[in-house]
Amino acid sequence: MELIFEISKEGRRGFIPPKMDVKPYKIESKYTRKNAPKLPEVTEGDVVRHYTNLSRLNYAVDTGFYPLGSCTMKYNPKLNERVASLSGFSEIHPYQDSKTVQGALKLMYDLGESLKKITGMDAMTLQPAAGAHGEYTGIAIMRQYHRSRKDFDRNEMIVPDSAHGTNPASSAMNGFKVIVVESDDRGMVDVDELKKVIGPNTAGMMLTNPNTLGIFEENILEISKIIHDAGGLMYYDGANLNAIMGQVRPGDMGFDVVHLNLHKTFSTPHGMGGPGAGPVGVKKFLEDFLPVPTIDKKKDKYVLDFSHKKTIGRVRSFYGNFTVLVKAYAYILTMGEEGIKHASEMAVLNANYLRTEISKILKVPHNNICMHEFVATTLPLEEKGIKALDFVKRMLDYGIHPPTVYFPLIVHEDIMVEPTETESKDTLDRFVEIVKKIYDEANEDPKILKEAPHTTPVGRLDDTRAARYPVLRWKEE
């Protein structure tokens, strides 16, 4: 498709701003812009057509099944979008007097209370803008906790080898040395290996549970005890909370800090990569370290509370991705206690059903009861010259978004499938059929996979060229 710049014609307008109704002001010439930016000059109709046509090149939850492992691509309810765009939520300013935003503050307060109940934590900040931002915040809290106790030697963060890349990155950004602990042959943290790496330098451990293989860490209570006995804190990466919400709470399994991905578990849309929201919950003894401000209730008034003395400070401006919070809150109200529990049950049911059926076609290395997702591998197809990437690219031709590939790093040629609870058995059966068809194709006509996809707006793109000769913006010829 043409770029918007390529349909530009000098002099066209897409929007007429309010007319100047006061006398103009001339700013000192040394500050004035000399050359106008080369923005597109197009009509409103041009813009609407251009972006509407672009949108049609996208695959999205609204268009089809999106079994992207670790991403929880559940359906995004439309009620949530509608309420978030109410002017009373979307057209308010963060510095308005708190008495003029009582509705907004109450919503944030109530959402925080709900999330505390779901996670089993004692206090919550809604400030972080994404999952990794929540991780950053949570790990900063752990660091400040140790520093406040003058425990300056605790400079090591333990992270399993199956962890999301954000875990080691968030630890490193907080100045921690990352200690990787290996998984055992059942795909869980190897407790004996863990015991070898803990010590007086252990600040804590980051854990996703269920982990990225979709396996519940059965030794979680023992792991928590080992870390706590060593003087460390337990961090819960909430990326996979969808598997266990309403079933068991991180706060009851020994976790001291938790982040949530509202854009995964609580149905807010992913927006092509964001905005999400990554609230962080902590146990009572860490409350004073939360970023400021938090939302508090004083009698029947809601206020911003800046009083935390040991706060890590701020991790962004203002109070969080507020309209994302509105959507998550609407979701919790709609689902209620039973609905939340039902969601995790159906998510786990769907994943196990798919695992059972897919394991009849592809190899599933850890083929036991899984949680919300599972990992299969196309390794046996290697002799046909087929990589996991080839396999999933072919799915595009059948109108399905591929699962996550090449993650976690501990299984080779892996595809990681997370169906979520909002997909029907019919959809899952269709997925199984497609996997079977592609498997047969791989054996009979591997070329059709190697060259896939065949039906998408563009074919496979040259990543190497993009990185070697970077073209990162449009330029006039």
Binding site: L39, N58, V248, S317
Partner: protein, 454 residues
């Protein structure tokens, strides 16, 4: 039943038997049974209309821009948003898509972000833009870390005229890798003191951070700052909408531009989400240390133009603890807001909006001064915000304004959570006024009549 979950009872039974377990509970057998949740204590589920009514009630309790005139800025601005923006960003094909990992079915997202990157380069005068950060504060903090990483020096200088919440955020981020933050003071013009800057640059200094226009609305003299800071990186946090009339930071040799994208078509949203701008000068070495996703042009197997996420060797999913940042989700939908907004307003619109903002703020200041109750605080040139000192009772003034459906100005003496810091900078009678093209001359008259009646 629940409107989002499709399973019938029969299907559940059938699936369980295929899996080879007796009950749903069996699927949760790996969990520590003694810790299983009995009751979380959430309310019962509600139907759609009840949820809508509940939330509408909460929304209605807030004073919003449909009913009030805003003279409030300080990082979030009430601008006029063309109708087409909301229509486009509300397309499910955009907002329910994930990060464009599968480029073949994400060309809509990827091309939008590529166009966005181009537009950000055009308005800032920079060479390379990424595809968004979380917000202006976080983008600025990551720029500070990037500067330290790039120059292998561990001190950053920050103008005290930077938004106080940005400063707090930079300080938090700096504490991990132990980057030292030192404050540079401002002078009577309301801009950074060049003398103080000169004195504080030493061989350990990685960068200086200034805001343009700064928190007091005053336009920093980037040319002069660049001359003093030749040997270190210059980081400029911009208000993008000012760049329709103000010279670009790129024109003064800025190394990194950050800023908050909210003015580019995004509603105020109580402060979020917006998106963070992150752009650098065109430098191969610099781009390798840049955080965030970057979109690049390439070709497909048949030679057709297409777009992909590129230079990913910087990112956490590849580099893990050695990544340039931990950022994964960004604020991609913000790039769609900005791309549609900037396409609609075009170069002429951006200039007219800038001129309108500039004229309104100067008109308001002149009128306020004429009442005899307000005195301009800083002599420097300003864009759409300015600080005045008043002899009126601020509490009473704000109450009267609110009664007349006016929100703002910001009372700097009471500035949330940063009270102590700002009090050193300003007196408690200082107010930050803001005007945009959304404020009509009539709104301004209404504000003045409230003041005059006091």
């Amino acid at each position: 039943m629940n409107p989002y979950i499709p399973h019938t009872d029969d299907e559940v039974e059938e699936m369980l038997s295929k899996i080879g377990v007796k009950s749903l509970d069996d699927l949760f057998s790996p969990l520590p049974q003694e810790k299983r949740v009995k009751k979380m204590g959430l309310p019962e589920s509600l139907d759609e209309f009840s949820v809508f009514s509940n939330l509408r009630k909460l929304a209605y309790k807030n004073a919003d821009a449909q009913r009030y005139s805003y003279f409030m800025g300080g990082g979030i601005y009430n601008h006029v948003i063309p109708s087409a923006v909301h229509q486009i960003v509300s397309r499910g094909d955009f907002y329910t898509a994930y990060t464009p990992y599968q480029a073949e079915v994400s060309q809509g997202s990827l091309q939008t972000m590529f166009e966005f990157q181009t537009m950000i380069c055009e308005i800032t005068g920079m060479g390379i833009s990424n595809a968004s950060m979380y917000d202006g504060a976080e983008a600025t903090a990551e720029a500070a870390l990037m500067a330290a990483r790039f120059s292998k020096k561990y001190k950053v200088l920050i103008a005290d005229t930077l938004h106080p919440e940005y400063l707090q955020t930079v300080k938090t981020y700096a504490s991990g890798p132990e980057v030292k933050v030192e404050i540079v003071e401002h002078d009577e013009t309301g801009t950074l003191s060049l003398n103080d800057l000169r004195n504080k640059i030493d061989e350990e200094t990685a960068a200086v951070i200034v805001q343009y226009p700064n928190f007091f609305g005053v336009v920093e003299d980037l040319k002069a700052i660049r001359e003093v800071s030749k040997d270190i990186l210059m980081i400029v946090a911009v208000n993008p909408i000012s760049l329709g009339v103000l010279e670009t930071p790129g024109a003064f040799g800025t190394d990194i531009v950050t800023g908050d994208g909210q003015p580019l078509g995004i509603p105020m949203n109580f402060g979020g989400p917006s998106f963070g701008i992150f752009a650098i000068r065109d430098d191969r070495r610099l781009v390798r240390t840049m955080p965030g996703r970057i979109i690049g042009e390439t070709v497909d197997v048949k030679g057709k133009r297409g777009f992909v996420m590129t230079l990913q060797a910087r990112e956490q999913h590849i580099r893990r603890e050695k990544a340039t940042s931990n950022i994964c989700s960004n604020h991609a939908l913000g790039t769609l807001y900005a791309a549609t907004y900037l396409s609609l307003v075009g170069p002429q619109g951006l200039k007219e909006i800038g001129e309108n903002n500039l004229a309104k703020s100067h008109y308001l200041l002149e009128k306020l001064e004429k009442t005899g109750h307000f005195k301009r605080k800083f002599s420097g040139e300003f864009f759409n915000e300015f600080v005045v000192e008043t002899d009126l009772n601020i509490f009473k003034l704000k109450r009267k304004l609110l009664k007349n459906n006016i929100i703002g100005p910001i009372d700097l003496g009471m500035f949330g959570g940063t009270k102590n810091k700002l009090r050193k900078l300003l007196s408690k009678n200082d107010l930050l006024f803001c005007t945009t093209e959304a404020n009509t001359a009539e709104d301004i008259e209404r504000l003045l009549s409230v003041v005059e009646a006091m």
